[in-house]
């Protein structure tokens, strides 16, 4: 296993790997999201209280999961980049941030659209909503810091420090619905005594979640390729300048 990691640790080898793997990831993503959407929109029961509006869940919940997942992976990458000073970890973390911010925004917007018919309001300042909003701001701060440095190596290290600092927010988001009395409902899928959600609703939810995971992976690889190409271009440019 560690051989694979060592093999991929080289950025140029990683780029070749990414180019080969990415089409498959994209296909898997499209299949899962298409099937999940079909299940979610047509082949799952409406909620006994909320009616058809419950179908927003199949986008909202996976997006919120991914918002946390992406930040968690960025935290792990930051530890890699601070401890082992790994260039690939820097690039992966930098490329993850915009995707994570997008997922967070999707979760916030769909949650707001869902909240209007069920809660009667677009937005409330309860613990879950506020902490997710803070997560979005932290993502934006990360994106700004990475790009603020002239030297991309320094920018990545600074962003890694910031990511570690912002990681305090993850447990707050996860447990905010248990620690405080919130309008947002408590966890019903990922909890200790098993999911309390019916299997008919669980199936499209899980399919969509897998689709979103592959969405993250494939777009991460695309971002990494772009980043690596940009760095290569810069190097070529400098080389050319030196020759002249």
């Amino acid at each position: 296993m560690s051989n694979i990691f060592n093999f991929l640790a080289n950025p140029s080898r990683f780029k070749i790997f990414a180019e080969k793997v990415n089409p498959f990831l994209l296909i898997i993503m499209f299949v899962f999201i298409a099937v999940g959407l079909w299940f979610g929109l047509f082949n799952s029961p409406p909620d006994y209280q909320q009616g058809e509006t419950v179908r927003i869940m199949y986008v909202h919940v996976p997006a919120a999961w991914m918002a946390l997942m992406v930040y968690l992976s960025m935290t792990i990458m930051s530890i890699f980049s601070l401890v082992w000073r790994h260039p690939l970890a820097d690039i992966l973390s930098k490329s993850s941030a915009p995707i994570g911010a997008t997922f967070t925004l999707i979760a916030l917007v769909t949650g707001s659209i869902w909240g209007k018919p069920t809660w009667g309001t677009w937005w409330v300042w309860d613990a879950r909503l506020t902490s997710v909003f803070i997560l979005f701001l932290i993502y934006m701060g990360h994106i700004a810091v990475v790009r603020a440095f002239e030297d991309e190596y320094k920018g990545a290290r600074a962003a890694a420090i910031l990511t570690l600092f912002g990681a305090f927010n993850l447990p707050i988001i996860k447990f905010s619905v248990d620690w405080w009395n919130t309008l947002h409902q408590p966890a019903s899928v990922i909890k200790l005594d098993g999911p309390s959600i019916h299997i008919d609703m669980m199936t499209p939810l899980i399919i969509m979640a897998v689709g979103f995971l592959f969405f993250y992976l494939s777009f991460l690889l695309i971002n990494v390729q772009t980043e690596l190409n940009q760095r290569k271009l810069k190097k070529l440019f400098i080389k050319k300048l030196n020759l002249n």
Binding site: T130, K154, I161, L162
Partner: protein, 221 residues
């Protein structure tokens, strides 16, 4: 330990002497508080409800303003580098800077808060909870702010970017601090908020010296 207090004394002395503009942040704090009654009307019942939040918000902005310069002047004229070269650990320097910042910025805010709470119309019986939350909260603000302040030194340009990075990290302190006052006024009791708020202080005391000194070193690489 002797070195630590010498460092703290040096920074506090510099502020009192007027060599650093950190004292201006306190003036900003006073001015910003006065803005609230002037901008949202002098209706007493309205002011009573927003008073706690207003004082907390201005306290946060006041420390934000001065935090940007926490390491900057020493970083730029090289004295920070000399201190590290002389064998003092970076983490100790960060802690001393934070303590000095709190003495010159946080402590005046805490001491002024009972008087300001009268000006802004908070019921006088609640001044103790305002003082208590500020007493616990302002050191956390300083410690949380140390890392972004150090990062802004490493970047070389601060200002808006520091604020952008810092404010989301400071928000939990603000929420808990002003939440305690609101909960106490509404009769629910603010102790829950205060417990959570006092949990932030040791955690940030533990984490931020390491992350801040790492960020400072990043500027030297």
């Amino acid at each position: 330990m002797k070195v630590f207090f010498k460092l703290v004394f040096r920074d506090v002395y510099l502020v009192i002497k007027g060599a650093s503009d950190a004292g201006a942040a306190i003036l900003f704090y006073l001015l910003a508080i006065i803005m609230f009654p002037l901008s949202s009307g002098t209706d007493t019942s309205l002011l009573t409800t927003i008073a706690g939040g207003a004082i907390w918000m201005t306290a946060m902005f006041a420390s934000l303003l001065s935090l940007d310069r926490l390491f900057r002047s020493d970083f730029e004229d090289g004295s920070l580098e000399q201190l590290v070269l002389s064998g003092i650990s970076m983490e100790l320097i960060v802690l001393s800077k934070c303590l000095a910042h709190w003495i010159t910025n946080g402590l005046p805010i805490v001491l002024l808060s009972p008087i300001l709470s009268i000006i802004i119309g908070l019921d006088f019986e609640y001044w103790w909870i305002l003082g208590l939350t500020l007493l616990i909260g302002t050191p956390s603000l300083t410690l949380i702010g140390a890392t972004p302040a150090a990062l802004s030194c490493a970047i070389g340009k601060g200002g808006v970017l520091t604020a952008l990075v810092l404010l989301p990290l400071m928000l939990p302190v603000l929420i808990l601090g002003s939440g305690a006052i609101t909960a106490e006024i509404s009769g629910l009791g603010g102790s829950g908020h205060i417990y959570a708020l006092s949990a932030i202080l040791p955690i940030s005391l533990l984490i931020s010296p390491f992350l801040a000194s790492k960020s400072i070193r990043l500027g030297w690489e």
